[in-house]
Amino acid sequence: MSDRWEQLEQRIEAEAASFDALSKRLPPPPGAAAAVSRARAAVRGELARRRVSWMVRLMPAGGVAAALVMAWFAGAPLAAPLRGGDDFAASDPLDEWAAAFHDSGDQLVSQWLGGNDATVAEDPLEADLNAWGLSEDDESEGI
């Protein structure tokens, strides 16, 4: 029984792997550079906030100003910028993606679709999934 289960898992892994090459050709979502920049700024801001908060707890009231000055000179932003980015890529990644996709993307789609006509029509995996109690209606109750 476990052998059959492992086989099923391997077949679905293989099926997914055949899609991996195509899925890697999905265009990068717009706004990725800004998202990276914002995440980085937020993390730096959080670290600075923790550092200042820790120093404030240790220091007498008079030392708070000194802690703020120290944090400032340490190069830590005291408030993370919430919008915008400081390190957008100089070249357009979409152009690079489009050029790469132009070379091989349509071929990948044809291969993926063309090589799977039989499974679309017959889908032997579906029968196995049903046999394992993973029917479409109650898949969440499955193994």
Partner: protein, 195 residues
């Protein structure tokens, strides 16, 4: 993060909240986390907010993380949970969130949108199949899209995805298979229609 020793060392530094280590984590994972969140929420603004929140949670909770698997599975679980919370919250407010209906106009423009006059010819040529694929992905149910996108952006195995989404392995496998079958069917019929 494929080198085990290097991962452990980086994780150790990140746990001590070494700024350079956390910077490295953000650089390594945030583009993929953003990609996942963008495909799950359909909004660049929401995905940027949630990417930021994902890494804030990483910083805040990394000392409680137990290293019993791949570190990225943990990060993608945080991101997927945030996306689900967001979708639920929007549903509660009576708003739907789907890739084909909800994207803000500017952000929703596909990177290969033919309305872009400045689009290079390669981009135009590339747009057809990628557009078909994107449209087909958008038609999938949320759980099916979640599985495929975690696989695509997270590079996670189905065991890791099942663990991250807290579903049985069989459920993850079945959803992935059916999602791929639907994509094939839709893309095949679109290709036939265009011929």
């Amino acid at each position: 993060m494929e080198n085990g020793g290097r991962d452990d060392e980086l994780l150790g530094r990140a746990r001590r909240r070494d700024p350079a280590a956390l910077d490295e984590l953000v650089a390594a994972f945030s583009p993929r986390v953003y990609g996942l969140l963008y495909r799950l929420t359909g909004s660049a603004d929401v995905a940027q907010d949630l990417t930021q929140e994902t890494f804030l949670r990483v910083v805040r909770t990394i000392d409680r993380y137990s290293h019993d698997g791949r570190f990225e599975a943990w990060i993608f679980r945080i991101a997927a949970n945030l996306a689900r919370d967001q979708v639920r919250a929007r549903r509660r407010r009576g708003m739907t969130l789907s890739l084909d209906s909800e994207r803000e106009d500017e952000e929703s423009r596909s990177p290969v949108d033919p309305r872009d006059d400045a689009m290079p010819s390669a981009r135009l040529a590339a747009s057809e199949d990628a557009g078909l694929l994107e449209a087909a992905l958008a038609r999938l149910s949320e759980p099916e899209r979640e599985i495929l996108m975690m696989r695509h952006y997270g590079d996670l195995s189905f065991r890791e995805i099942a663990d991250a989404l807290n579903v049985p392995l069989g459920t993850a496998l079945a959803r992935a298979h059916r999602a791929l079958q639907r994509l094939k069917k839709w893309m095949s019929s679109s290709e036939e229609d265009s011929e």
